[in-house]
Symmetry: C3
Subunit: 355 residues, 3 copies
């Protein structure tokens, strides 16, 4: 299995979800996401247990979903509450998964694993620059690549000087990086000292030279917090022109990945034209540079497991490699747990878990 | 193996076949269908035994097929009768299957299994309303789904009230159904008593209310006879406005299905505009409602065997489940027969059978 | 494995390769082909050993290739010569294959196997009619079929009378063929005596009748030399109007094939309009007749190994069958060699071989 299930994944932006049904594949499973009549976000399995129809194509009846094929109705806890046929008997197994979900900072977080373990306290703060009620600058792409290639890509930003030379106009100046990790996160902090201000920063930062800071942190399973800052030479990063970006990476299938990103900045915050420009620049770089490169790498891997191909290891690979090894360890631990017989107390809820 | 071979399958409508070559895939095998100079329908294997070229792309020379690649000629019993090269020697194995075929009621029936078992007496009467020489109302679709999903769909017509709400305007009134089956057939008879006349029946049946009868019968391997009737409350079904439809389901491959349908009715039989309207309504419902739903279900099954996914069982699933179990039993029996060594008398013809 | 590696394959025409990077898949592997600053052709593995990016999408820096993803640089012997990041350490395994290549008669030959065995002396002379500096008449197609179907096609030219009846206007007259083979080549010489001049030859050969010679020779692994000649009845083939064609067949993947062809002739050599006409006629026949037929045959084989389907054997199959058996023998010998432990002296170069 390529996925870790016991973790919070971004399933959607808040703005995508209303009382209609959003059907989205997450970790290989169909999920129906909607809001209940009280406005709370709810997520249940999107596959009817009767003939496997996609429930999100059905119609809403109060806070229930009517299956579009034969009309079984499910509540937003995943229980079948109506069989409109014959004597109307509802089999005990007529239910779909109910996923723990939390809505924070404009993001809908979903826990695909054991609901008993879903602790909202470990949902990471996105560390965005707050700009109140204004519309966030964000985007959602679905990339046809293994999510681990996306983690690799983000955890080694040295690629920017080569892959994004045409769009983000990064500097090829000397990068000084420090690495740091713990059980469920990895950090890379990089500084390029006394360099010409990259054209992408000139709007926010008027001096012709300064220090360029590029930091990124991965938090298990798929949250990345990035800070890019241009400062006067020698100053602290947060003292300068700062953009804080978040990249939320959620496997769609074993070979495709949801890529949600959010941008914020501490300069020219009210200028909507910069929002539009940023959206265009980032979408373009992700879609026309990152995605085709990752897709080509995946194709060149010919379906083989990454480490089986013995990739050469550079010091810049520390962070990406730590991500991969951490994912591997947690996936193995989950598999080990799944092999153990469930304790009696847990058995009763087994039916509703998506595992 | 997903197919039962010893049975009569619809291969084509009579109107599709002339002295040209029709190439069609049936139960995963290419079949060439044509008429001989006497007008009789003939069907042979469509794969040249030399270099596996599709014979139906070849040209006709009298009652032979010339292979389009190297010019070997085959008669309509599947025997190679000419090798135009070198000394012209024809190897004994130079033959393709000859399939038993029968033409009845505008349908060409083909037997993909052991020719010795092909008994035309078991071809079902379609029970259509006869309207003489007039063109039948029919259609042929190829659906990208396992044929068993199509049988499921047809044997549980309770789906109409949900899936076809927008096209066939069915009633959601209470359905009373009785079920009945034997070794090779399954029947469901349903009546909705004293209901408003559905808009689809108003053309044929002027009263505002009555009983609506909806009966369907599956006959192994792929013939379904359906009767829809609107009657005065309490009357016999055949006393009312009756449409008799046939659905002939033939696997094309393990994941695609030929769907042949024929419509007949006992009212307004001469009105050709109703023919056109019926053709449009049915094609539309099959193509835009049934097919996408079955395709979505198949995709949601992820390649797994149906029962391995433990679908919940409703009483309305009796008929569909009986079809599946009957197919399973017969497929297992055929596999068992195939494992037994052939008796000497049968061995000589083994080469020409498609098995 | 479907490929023999120790042999010379056509990788490109000379005219396709300059100091840009040509990326081409050969025997399932990506190859980057270019010219060094001295004009010599060079070929290295196209997959960066770091994150498997396609090197041919990178930029050239002097005689090095800069990886488009993270900027590692490789020389044209496949060695990594620059790591622009961190301390710049270059791991010993940071190299890609360097393929032996030779450029002759407008063709770039590549040896995908053990470089120590690459002997340029065995590259076949193409036996084209020399016409000096004039542009050759040639073409390159990539066909979605197993290369062995292409060898079959070419080694049994009796197909022309049927498959190319509409384009090459061949005769269906009696063919007299002789066959001949040795360890690594197979020949078929055919003559049709005292036949009407085919329309395709009338331009070069004014007499209404004569002998038509059609000879073809396969040289392991993928070179075919063909002579088509129209002569006065009873004359030697080379005394007449002769076209000499070469077909160079290089597997791209297990199910696709590079088809390079070159045409030359001994009449009307200076008439460029005939060049254009020939290019059009041959491309059309290969693309609209050969390719669809081979593709249909491949599809009809359903992924099975050719001989497992027990194709019937005609005397015209001698040459194609000898090609297949020779390829099988050599592939088995290579597999046997690969299973033996390498001698100490060979071990040091193992890392750079593409095997």
């Amino acid at each position: 299995m390529a996925f870790a299930r016991n973790g919070w994944y971004c399933a959607a932006f808040s703005t995508e979800v209303d009382t209609n049904f959003l059907g989205r594949k997450i970790l290989g499973e169909g999920v129906l996401i909607t809001r209940d009549s009280a406005g709370g976000v709810r997520a249940i399995g999107d596959r009817c247990p009767h003939r496997f129809a996609p429930l999100h194509r059905g119609v809403r009846e109060a806070d229930t979903v009517e299956c579009p094929y034969h009309g079984l109705r499910f509540d937003l806890d995943g229980r079948c509450v109506l069989n409109p046929h014959g004597q109307g008997r509802i089999p005990g197994a007529a239910r779909v998964a109910a996923y723990p979900v939390e809505e924070r900072q404009g993001v809908i977080w979903l826990w695909p694993g054991d609901p008993a373990l879903a602790d909202p306290a470990i949902i990471p703060d996105l560390l965005l620059v707050d700009r109140g009620e204004r519309t966030p600058v964000n985007g959602h792409l679905t990339m046809p690549v293994d999510y681990r290639l996306v983690l690799d890509n983000l955890m080694d930003l040295s690629h920017a000087a080569y892959l994004h030379a045409g769009t983000l106009s990064p500097s090829r100046a000397k990068r000084e990086s420090t690495y740091d990790d713990d059980e469920t996160s990895v950090r890379v902090n990089t500084v390029m000292r006394d360099v010409p201000t990259p054209s992408s920063q000139q709007l926010y930062f008027p001096s012709p030279r300064g220090d360029y800071h590029s930091d990124i942190e991965w938090i298990f399973p798929g949250s990345l917090r990035q800070r890019l800052a241009m400062t006067e030479t020698g100053a602290e990063a947060d003292a300068g022109a700062v953009t804080r970006n978040v990249h939320l990476i959620t496997p769609e299938t074993e070979t495709s990945t949801h890529y949600f990103w959010i941008h914020s900045r501490n300069r020219l915050m009210d200028d909507v034209s910069i929002d539009d420009r940023t959206r265009a620049i980032l979408s373009n770089a992700f879609l026309t540079e990152d995605e085709p490169m990752m897709q080509a790498c995946q194709e060149n891997m010919g379906g083989a497991e990454f480490f089986s191909l013995r990739p050469i290891y550079l010091e810049t690979d520390f962070a990406g490699t730590r991500c991969r090894r951490t994912m591997e360890r947690i996936i193995a631990e989950e598999a080990e747990t799944a092999r153990r017989p469930a304790a009696p107390a847990e058995a009763s809820s087994a039916q509703t878990t998506p595992a």
